[in-house]
């Protein structure tokens, strides 16, 4: 069994999709949460000077989606054929696009007026457009009563849960127009391994 060390900060953020897939797989790992003061010491050791990083028997992988996909594959939860894998990847990328739009106004916009404007555009226009696509794509997989890809959970679900956590925190009824997506959130939360992780994971602001 390889040794896994996941480096990130005290938060869900960009590391949480990997943590969810590690939980679904029941794979033990070192969940390293760095203090901000420790970061200048660790940054030069990371391949692109960023976190999260997953260290697998000494090899360091960076980039949150690459990490989550690798971990998903370790337990056969990344899609069973090349096409299924591409579908899982495309869904995950769509969710990451939305997470990036949120990060843009939460973390990278300092002007308060522009911040509010971007947030409004996101919730009023961008997000509804894409939730519409996501609902349709879920339904396209056998009516949408299961998962995004094939008949099992993949890293697509991990990214979707992280996105829904964030958008529901802002707007609790945001998924009501999308019943299949809303029902899927509950299925992910009760998935073996993930259910236990959600109950015990540190409660953090991000």
């Amino acid at each position: 069994m390889p040794s896994y060390k996941l480096y990130y900060f005290h938060g869900r953020g960009r590391a949480e999709p990997a943590r969810l897939m590690l939980a679904a797989a029941g794979l033990p790992y070192e969940d390293i949460r760095l203090e901000y003061e420790q970061w200048p010491e660790y940054k030069p050791k990371m391949p692109m000077g960023q976190a999260p990083v997953l260290e697998v028997d000494g090899t360091m992988i960076c980039q949150s989606v690459a990490i989550a996909r690798f971990v998903a594959k370790e337990s056969g939860r990344a899609g069973k054929t090349n096409i299924e894998q591409a579908w899982a990847d495309m869904m995950a990328d769509g969710f990451v696009d939305m997470l990036n739009k949120m990060a843009d106004y939460v973390w990278y916009e300092e002007d308060e007026a522009r911040k509010a404007e971007k947030k409004k555009t996101f919730f009023d226009t961008t997000l509804p457009e894409f939730l519409g696509y996501f609902e349709k794509l879920l339904v396209a997989n056998n009516g949408g009563g299961g998962f995004f890809v094939g008949d099992g959970l993949t890293h697509a679900e991990a990214f979707f849960l992280c996105l829904s956590d964030d958008i529901i925190a802002e707007k609790p009824n945001v998924l009501s127009p999308y019943p299949k997506l809303a029902a899927l959130v509950e299925r992910i939360k009760t998935y073996p391994g993930i259910k236990e992780w959600l109950a015990k994971r540190p409660q953090t602001p991000f």
Binding site: Q63, A66, F70, K73, I83, A86, W87, D89, M90
Partner: protein, 200 residues
């Protein structure tokens, strides 16, 4: 043999790398290039209202990196082990991060702000990126293991896209990165494709 139909606009943009990957793998594909005014009619038929899209025996996949990874696997260019595949993925993701910065100055309409953004990119963002990627590339000119992967092809593709927007040869002085570029351009499928693409 599956049928592949790639749809995008005419320019290099986001599909350039995908066409290169088909070429590198010697895989036949229908290279559909639409005009701007055809887009509104196509948009609702796409999974997420965006292109490029790849249709594989009737299934439509979107998201450039998802498509790229799929073609890379079909072409045997996605790494030999799961860890190698992850290494290729991380290189591609880092290139994608850089592309976000490029698109940002590209679409900037205010001329003064555009110049400022290009200056910041050329003097700070891009050199930092190149320094990082030089260390990630091997002296034999590969980002992953010792063979060509789609990470190498994606790097070349982005450098090719950038060449019209930056003054000099950006890889001058970067020994490993220049070798990556050489390895990519000497791949027979890619060499033939580039000859065709750049000869008009």
């Amino acid at each position: 043999m599956p049928s592949y139909k790639l749809t995008y606009f005419k320019h290099w943009g986001r599909a350039g790398v995908l066409r290169l990957l088909f070429a590198a793998g010697g895989i036949e594909f229908e290279d559909v290039r639409i005009e701007r005014d055809q887009w509104p009619e196509l948009k609702p038929k796409t999974p997420m209202g965006q292109i490029p899209i790849l249709e594989v025996d009737g299934t439509i996949i979107c998201q450039t990196k998802a498509i790229g990874r799929f073609i890379a696997k079909e072409a045997g260019l996605a790494g030999k082990t799961p860890l190698e595949a992850a290494q290729a993925d991380m290189i591609v993701d880092g290139l994608s991060d850089l592309q976000v910065k490029i698109v940002d100055f590209f679409i900037e309409k205010d001329a003064k702000k555009k110049q400022e953004k290009i200056k910041e990119f050329a003097e700070k963002t891009f050199p930092v990126f190149l320094d990082t990627y030089e260390k990630l590339a091997s002296s034999s000119g590969h980002f992953v293991g010792d063979a060509l992967t789609w990470a190498d092809v994606d790097f070349f593709s982005l450098m090719f896209f950038l060449k019209d927007h930056l003054p000099n040869d950006p890889l001058k002085g970067y020994v490993n990165l220049s070798k990556v570029r050489d390895n990519v351009t000497s791949n027979p499928g890619i060499a033939a494709w580039m000859e065709k693409e750049t000869s008009h």
